[in-house]
Symmetry: C2
Subunit: 399 residues, 2 copies
Amino acid sequence: MQLLILGGDGFCGWPTALHLSAHGHDVTIVDSCVRRRIDDELGVRSLTPIRLLPERLDAWKSVTGRSIDFVEMDLAEDYSALTDLLATKRPDAVVHFAEQRAAPYSMKSSAHKRYTIQNNVAVTHNLLAGVVESGLDCHIVHLGTMGVYGYESVPMDLPEGYLTVAYPDRTGRNHSREILYPTQPGSVYHLSKSLDQLLFQFYANNDGVRITDLHQGIVWGTQTDETELDLRLVNRFDYDGDYGTVLNRFLVEAAIGHRLTVHGTGGQTRAFINIRDTVRCIRLAVESGAEVSGRVRVMNQVTETHRVIDLAHLVADLVGAEVELVPNPRKEADENELRVRNDRLVGLGLEPIYLATGLLTESVEIAQKYADRIERDRIVSTSYWNRSRRAAAEEHVYG
Amino acid sequence: MQLLILGGDGFCGWPTALHLSAHGHDVTIVDSCVRRRIDDELGVRSLTPIRLLPERLDAWKSVTGRSIDFVEMDLAEDYSALTDLLATKRPDAVVHFAEQRAAPYSMKSSAHKRYTIQNNVAVTHNLLAGVVESGLDCHIVHLGTMGVYGYESVPMDLPEGYLTVAYPDRTGRNHSREILYPTQPGSVYHLSKSLDQLLFQFYANNDGVRITDLHQGIVWGTQTDETELDLRLVNRFDYDGDYGTVLNRFLVEAAIGHRLTVHGTGGQTRAFINIRDTVRCIRLAVESGAEVSGRVRVMNQVTETHRVIDLAHLVADLVGAEVELVPNPRKEADENELRVRNDRLVGLGLEPIYLATGLLTESVEIAQKYADRIERDRIVSTSYWNRSRRAAAEEHVYG
């Protein structure tokens, strides 16, 4: 298949581009490389020494003999370049990772809130308008987030995107209807993905655009079969308070002998997936595109759920560290229950990699190997969800 | 009260600004005057000869002795000017009309789709981020649209924003929950207001911003008690295929001896409100702001519903014209039922003006008085919702 990977220089985009190329697809990466400029802004860098994108692509060519094209483009700003590219490449599918993807970054300041909303909405909407204008029958595969469902406890396993609800009609009899699961985003980032959902619903309905929206959990792990072929192909490893997800932060804290900092009580339950499963899921979504028509196909791209405090103790036991509870910078429920359906991707052939299978040691080794690159004062999150969360943090003395 | 009226040069914004000023409030209009540039783009002008905003404000001052401030600002682009203004004026409430508001305009081309989404999302989100950054306890009153509910027939009277639904929990017992009414926008414009709803939900929940979202029906009528005080205060009257709403287009077609063109079967049922009620509703919403806290207050700003074909015959009988069915440029249900709750605004004191009360003759007179200003070839809509709607229109020969 002819594929565009929007945001193909990022943490999920890069290994996905390699995986799809390895499986025989013609891959073009489209990226503004803004994620690297955000590293500069935050004064932090990937723990793993990642190469510039052209070097990465040269290495992929030399190791595998396969070519991946690269087009540098700001998809939020340069709509005509996007439509030109669609007309030239005539992709069978476009995989869309090209959004600001960190919740804490999206909450740092008004400027970061505005950037996240405007960039993410503009890229998604430009893509949709561009596909309609092109007249191509092109399948869009989008990386959404479990966060659109929200994290209040609900007495059910979260369905895949849609919910059948009942309400009384004028005569008092129940009327049944299937709706998009009511969204309850917990950050400006998650909000932007909730806006995406409505954009997709409209363009699928009005113009028949074929769309798959993958509601992904928190990704753990670093390498895939393809990124570990050569050091120059190594994937990003973010550990800072903005972009570092919870497991990576624990591993880095452990590597420098710091206590593992748990936000709030750690009773928050979240959904997880290994990066190796991420790239497989996206391939399964792309290769099953023929089954998508009519309404948006939503699939939950998760393999298991855990309480944050349990993850902290898992890492603590693995590496011999202590756990510290710190004020939660986020406005979220202290504790929640979470169970998630993932039948669709399992039905397409996903065989999950679980945390318990021991692959976490790979990330432990990476954290230890590159411990001298860790910027200690960048690990704790200083992005507060609102005034009261900032005030709570400022009263706390870290242990 | 100290009030900002964003978009106070437009069809609803202008009479609202006057009405609030007449009722003793300190009013500042904030507008980029983009609506006048869109007139130039479309090669059309208000049927009524509206004055430039500074002339309008001078006239208001000379007629009533009251001052209205004007700040020219592009709220989508100039965030720092907005936060400066909030800090200077410290408004008690901000009335937000500053969005591209025509469904056909939003569907004309990719450029118009992109402008509508990016402008409307940016203005709403800049306002929300700005209010949070300012730390003001400022009530936002936003003009939404009935279109967020969608126009499929539902066997109930549309509630005001929220719907209580039930779905089975893990044990099969019904779980009940109140949700934002599931949105089904029928154009990119209506989509932008659905996105607004999610922005409001998030900022009310995360930061406690106090918000009223008014889901307004189609506005008919032209003048209010304040705009008819002086010819220089006259309100806009749009009749073109993009900005002219259905009643205005019928009146103008009648005034030039054209058949009244009904889209599709005319079986579409829509909700309506007179412009005099619009300005009263907004005053009621502003002056009852103290009751808003916690979740967003949603009120349906409508007074009656009618089938489009019935409106056509009403006008035809009034002025002696014929009715012609033409292919519908919009993708929408041929026919639908629509009944709407409006208890909240009636509870605040709204006494509706109905079409049957005879006020339509005022608009008939305006259409006849300014008939020589009508651009005949601008009345029919040439904005098509998708490829199949365009194809249907191109096969049709107009009578």
